[in-house]
């Protein structure tokens, strides 16, 4: 005990917290840079399969997302349990794809339009029927660059 009491006399002043905001700001900027704001709430369950030959999608603004999967539990009363397509925020029909692509195209400057990619986020359990229909519709609307979203395979 006496050892502790001895030290109390010459205790050093409190640690300066002036640099704390700087550290926090540094973290903040890191997260601001890496962050991607959630663009749409999913109404279908999508669990993408694994693959090895992956390409990274570079420019987020040049990508439009098409989700295919079973509607989530709380939407099943309205949309049933069959796999459906979701464009943006709402569950859509395949015939809505051209309009959706056109709307996305209008947000992109003209010079960058050839680089537009479509990311197909499809649940692994879905059968190919609906996927083929979506692919056909994409081909008809001349959106030929497609990326089948997948997770990297862990061996």
């Amino acid at each position: 005990m006496s050892k502790f009491q001895k030290k109390r006399g010459k205790s050093s002043p409190a640690i300066s917290t002036a640099s704390l905001p700087d550290i926090i700001f540094m973290l903040l900027f890191f997260f601001m840079v890496v962050t991607v704001l959630r663009d749409s709430t999913l109404k279908v369950s999508v669990n993408v399969p694994n693959a090895t030959e992956l390409t990274k999608l570079e420019k987020k603004s040049l990508v439009n997302y098409l989700y295919i999967g079973k509607p989530l539990q709380n939407y099943q009363d309205v949309y049933g349990t069959k796999p459906t397509l979701q464009l943006g925020d709402k569950i859509s029909k395949i015939a809505d794809i051209p309009l959706f692509l056109e709307q996305h195209k209008n947000t992109v400057p003209e010079a960058q339009r050839p680089g537009i990619n479509s990311s197909l986020r499809v649940d692994g359990e879905v059968t190919m029927g609906i996927v083929s229909d979506v692919k056909t519709e994409l081909r008809k609307s001349n959106q030929l660059k497609v990326n089948y979203s997948a997770k990297p395979k862990v061996d």
């Binding site: 030959e53 649940d123 497609v146 997948a150």
Partner: protein
């Protein structure tokens, strides 16, 4: 410059104590909204749509590597049932044809991979098959890069990559899916 009064100079330090709180607030906001998962996937170029039926092509059967996937997710490669784990090796052997067999592709440039699935095929299987076929080509290009330039394919110059790509072109034709199985 007008002289600042001594009073100003005395209290010119703003209390920065609450700055950390504000920064924390922002930090937590970004932490919550952030999605770290990077968007990766298998890149595919679809063929343009045309209303006319495709022209009848006379292809030498030895140059076609046909892969059929049925609604039970089973594979039929060149009329033999095959396991998906063997697909990559078989495809590579078919393209390069190291022993010069009469039944395999004449040259990598003439090799065509034809993929056909059913509407009842699971997407997972389809992507796995597509991935294996793409992997076969990527591995062959990598081998070509190593033997020709002694470097990995991704470190080659644009021209060297193009040269290899024209020697081993990825020709993957997808037929319209059949409609036998349940969706």
């Amino acid at each position: 410059m007008p002289r600042t009064s001594s009073r100003d100079r005395m209290n010119n330090e703003i209390n920065a104590g609450s700055m950390a709180d504000i920064a924390f607030l922002l930090l937590i906001f970004f932490l919550v909204t952030t999605t770290i998962d990077v968007d990766k996937g298998v890149l595919v170029k679809l063929p343009p749509w045309s209303n006319e039926p495709p022209p009848e092509l006379k292809l030498n059967e030895r140059n076609v590597f046909s892969v059929l996937v049925n609604s039970e997710n089973q594979l039929l490669v060149r009329n033999e049932p095959t396991d998906i784990d063997d697909l990559r090796e078989r495809c590579k052997e078919f393209i390069m044809n190291p022993e010069g067999l009469k039944t395999l592709a004449k040259s990598p440039k003439q090799a065509i991979v034809s993929l056909k699935n059913d509407r009842g095929t699971e997407y997972k299987t389809y992507l796995l098959v597509y991935n294996e076929l793409k992997a076969a080509y990527n591995e062959l290009r990598e081998e070509a890069a190593q033997s020709r330039y002694g470097k990995s394919f991704e470190y080659l110059t644009k021209d060297q990559q193009r040269a290899i790509r024209t020697d081993i072109p990825l020709v993957l034709s997808e037929a319209e899916p059949s409609d036998f199985g349940d969706e």
